[in-house]
C-alpha cells in the first residue's frame, strides 16, 4: 500500500516521507504536496528503494 507520511513538529518543521514505493513514482505522487508546503529539493532524502528500478535496468543490460 502506498503512503505519503507528513509529520509536523511544534517548531513548524515539516518532514515528508513515502512508503510502499519502488522507484521514482513516489516523487511524482508527493510533488504537489511538497510544492504546496514549500518543501525544497534540498530537504528531500531518498531511501534505497528509490533507486531500485534503475538498478534492475542496469543489471538487465549487463
Amino acid at each position: 500500500m502506498k503512503e505519503i507520511i507528513i509529520e509536523i513538529g511544534e517548531d513548524g518543521n515539516i518532514e515528508l516521507r513515502a512508503e510502499g514505493y519502488k522507484g521514482k513514482q513516489c516523487k511524482a505522487d508527493s510533488k504537489d504536496i511538497e510544492e504546496a508546503l514549500g518543501i525544497s529539493d534540498g530537504k528531500r532524502k531518498t531511501l534505497p528503494e528509490y533507486h531500485l528500478t534503475e538498478v534492475v535496468k542496469q543489471k538487465q543490460r549487463a
Binding site: 504537489d32 504546496a36 508546503l37
Partner: protein, 137 residues
C-alpha cells in the same frame, strides 16, 4: 512598544489558512491592519480574529509567501488591561504552532482531494508531533 512574533511557517494558500482558522474557532478576513499591544495597529494583508479577543494574528505578504505575526503579550487580571495576546496563544499555540499544524493538515487534505483514491488519516504521536498519513487505497 511591540512584542510581535513571527511564526516560522510560510503560508502559500490563503484558502487553506482560512479553513485552519475556522477549525480552531477563528475567522480570517482581508484587512490592512491587525491589533496588538495596547491597541497598536500593524500593517498586514489579512488578519485572523478570535471572538472576544482584542489581539489578532496578522498575515503579512513577503514576496510570494505570507508570514503570520502575533503579539503573545497578556494575561488574566486587571493589571493586563485589554492586553490579551495570551488568548491567541491558548487557542493557536505557542508561536502559533497549533495554527501552523492545522494549516499544514488543511494543505495536505486539499492536495489529497485533488488526487483519486487518496485519503488522509491524522494521528498525534507520543513525541507530540502531528502525523498525517496520505494513504492510497
Amino acid at each position: 512598544m511591540s512584542h510581535l512574533v513571527s511564526a516560522p511557517l510560510r503560508i502559500r494558500s490563503i484558502p487553506d489558512l482560512k479553513r485552519a482558522a475556522q477549525a480552531l474557532g477563528g475567522e480570517l478576513e482581508e484587512s490592512a491592519v491587525f491589533t496588538s499591544y495596547q491597541g497598536e495597529r500593524n500593517k498586514c494583508n489579512y488578519r485572523i480574529k478570535l471572538p472576544g479577543v482584542n489581539y489578532q494574528v496578522g498575515i503579512v505578504r513577503d514576496g510570494d509567501v505570507y508570514l503570520m505575526q502575533h503579539d503573545p503579550f497578556g494575561g488574566d487580571g486587571p493589571q493586563w488591561g485589554d492586553n490579551d495576546g495570551h488568548k491567541l496563544v491558548a487557542k493557536f499555540g505557542k508561536g502559533l504552532s497549533k495554527l501552523s499544524e492545522e494549516y499544514t493538515a488543511q494543505v495536505v487534505t486539499t492536495q489529497a482531494r485533488k488526487k483519486i483514491g487518496w485519503t488522509v488519516v491524522r494521528k498525534r504521536l507520543k513525541n507530540g508531533r502531528l502525523q498525517l498519513r496520505m494513504v492510497h487505497a
